[in-house]
């Protein structure tokens, strides 16, 4: 029982250490930013597309319909 509790705490600490490691943090940060860029400049979702239509057409390398 005691060893199981120690294993659980050790696993939690490893998970926290892994989550807070630089590569994981950098990946999370990059993913959030990339998702935002996609929504603003590339998404076909009509509200996003219509509201930023002119911005998309006036930015180099951004394709529209």
């Amino acid at each position: 029982m005691k060893s199981a509790a120690i294993n659980t705490r050790s696993f939690k600490q490893q998970a926290v250490r892994f989550t807070l490691s630089l590569p994981v943090q950098a990946t999370l940060y990059t993913s959030v930013c990339t998702l935002t860029i996609w929504t603003l400049y590339f998404s076909s979702y009509p509200p996003a597309h219509d509201s930023l239509h002119q911005v998309r057409h006036n930015t180099l390398m951004v394709g529209c319909h």
Partner: protein
């Protein structure tokens, strides 16, 4: 046989006919068997053309070897857009590598003139075929023109601003993440990392909120445009003497040619009308912008037809003003008819969008890497660990 005397030579009727034929031939200056040349002029000059902006006036003139206008010609014009560039896409990737226009016209003075919006930057191919109407006045010829349209300058500026913003965002994130942090007892994550992630998530939420609110406002404005677009039909005035029949499609797709045309006939007799002038105007209803202007005459069957690609996925209106030809026997009041064409937009291919997203993410990652490196550089660490001087 009647004979005439010219100095010491007797002129027979057959010789007279030959002389008259030579005189007649010189007014149509191209000898049978010779090929005319085609000259192209654009207004504005091609280097000043802005893509997807105002229509460009294209004038094609067929001339003989002496530079005189060729008469009674049939001119066919085909316009092809620049080739596909997936690694550096334009803002209309579906339009790249397609045909924009296919039009054939009777050119009594060897001239074909039209106005067309060129949608994207790059090298357009304009293929012009000139044939004699009677089939024998001159040898048919084909010429290909390559016109290079520059990109909109504002695009470079906007991309530069975006790149700087992404670099800054990456740099800032890397600066925060690059700090060596320890978790205090009771904390799940270091405070600064939590703050950074929270900030990034807040920015994402704010961006989505702004986008959605603006989309709601744009939607209500778009309904007003629809009402304004329908107003153009109230200018239609059917003619009591002439009957018009729309030919071709009322639906089109971006990237493909749509067949468009009009047929004129006498309302009483049903005979085709050939002595009229048709002024064609294609308008994009979304922004009420003219994308195509052309003046032509119907053929022997009373038809004026052409194929055109609509590069913007939005409703368009084709307006045709019908007027009598100057000096023609048939005179009637000018009238206008119009036809709405629904154009289906096509989303850019995912691959093209992912390529540009990769470029932008690369700039972000570059900033991130720079930020981390700067934060953990020995020089900065030395500076950070210097003892603070005490105030005197």
């Amino acid at each position: 046989m009647v004979k005439f005397k010219l100095k010491n030579r007797q002129i027979t009727p057959s010789l007279l006919i030959s002389i008259l034929g030579l005189i007649g031939g010189s007014t149509n200056s191209l000898a049978a068997g010779s090929q005319p040349k085609i000259q192209l002029t654009t207004v504005p000059p091609i280097e000043q053309v802005v893509p997807a902006d105002k229509p460009v006036k294209l004038t094609f003139q067929a001339v003989d070897e002496q530079g005189k206008r060729v008469e009674k010609a049939k001119i066919r014009l085909q316009i092809f857009t620049p080739a596909k560039t997936p690694w550096l896409t334009s803002d209309f990737p579906i339009v790249e590598g397609t045909q924009l226009l296919d039009l054939e016209a009777f050119a009594s003075t060897g001239e074909l003139q039209l106005q067309k919006v060129l949608p994207i930057r790059g090298k357009y191919q304009l293929i012009v075929d000139v044939q004699p109407i009677d089939g024998k006045a001159f040898t048919p010829t084909q010429q290909t023109f390559t016109v290079s349209v520059p990109e909109k300058s504002v695009k470079y500026l906007n991309f530069g601003i975006l790149a700087v913003v992404l670099l800054g965002v990456g740099l800032g994130g890397g600066w925060v993440l690059g700090e060596s942090q320890k978790t205090l007892p009771g904390e799940i994550a270091p405070e600064r990392v939590r703050l950074l992630l929270s900030g990034a998530i807040l920015v994402a939420i704010a961006s989505l909120l702004v986008v959605n609110i603006r989309a709601e406002l744009a939607e209500s404005h778009h309904h007003g445009d629809h009402v304004h677009g329908k107003h153009s039909h109230s200018e239609d005035r059917p003619s009591p003497a002439l009957q018009t029949k729309w030919l071709g499609e009322d639906q089109a797709t971006v990237g493909k040619l749509a067949q468009i045309g009009l047929q004129l006939s006498d309302r009483n007799t049903g005979n085709p009308i050939t002595d009229a002038v048709l002024q064609v105007k294609a308008i994009g209803n979304e922004h009420n912008e003219t994308v195509f202007l052309y003046q032509g005459v119907p053929d022997a069957t009373g038809k004026l037809t052409w194929q055109q690609q609509f590069f913007d996925g939005a409703p368009h209106t084709i307006q045709v003003k019908v007027s009598p030809q100057p000096g023609a026997t048939r005179q009637f009041p000018s009238f206008q008819v119009s036809q709405e064409i629904e154009v289906a937009g096509v989303a850019p291919p995912l691959s093209v969008r992912f390529i540009t997203l990769a470029y932008l993410t690369g700039i972000l990652v570059l900033g991130l890497g720079l930020g981390i490196k700067l934060r953990r550089s020995p020089k900065f660490l030395q500076f950070a660990q210097r003892p603070k001087t005490q105030e005197l």
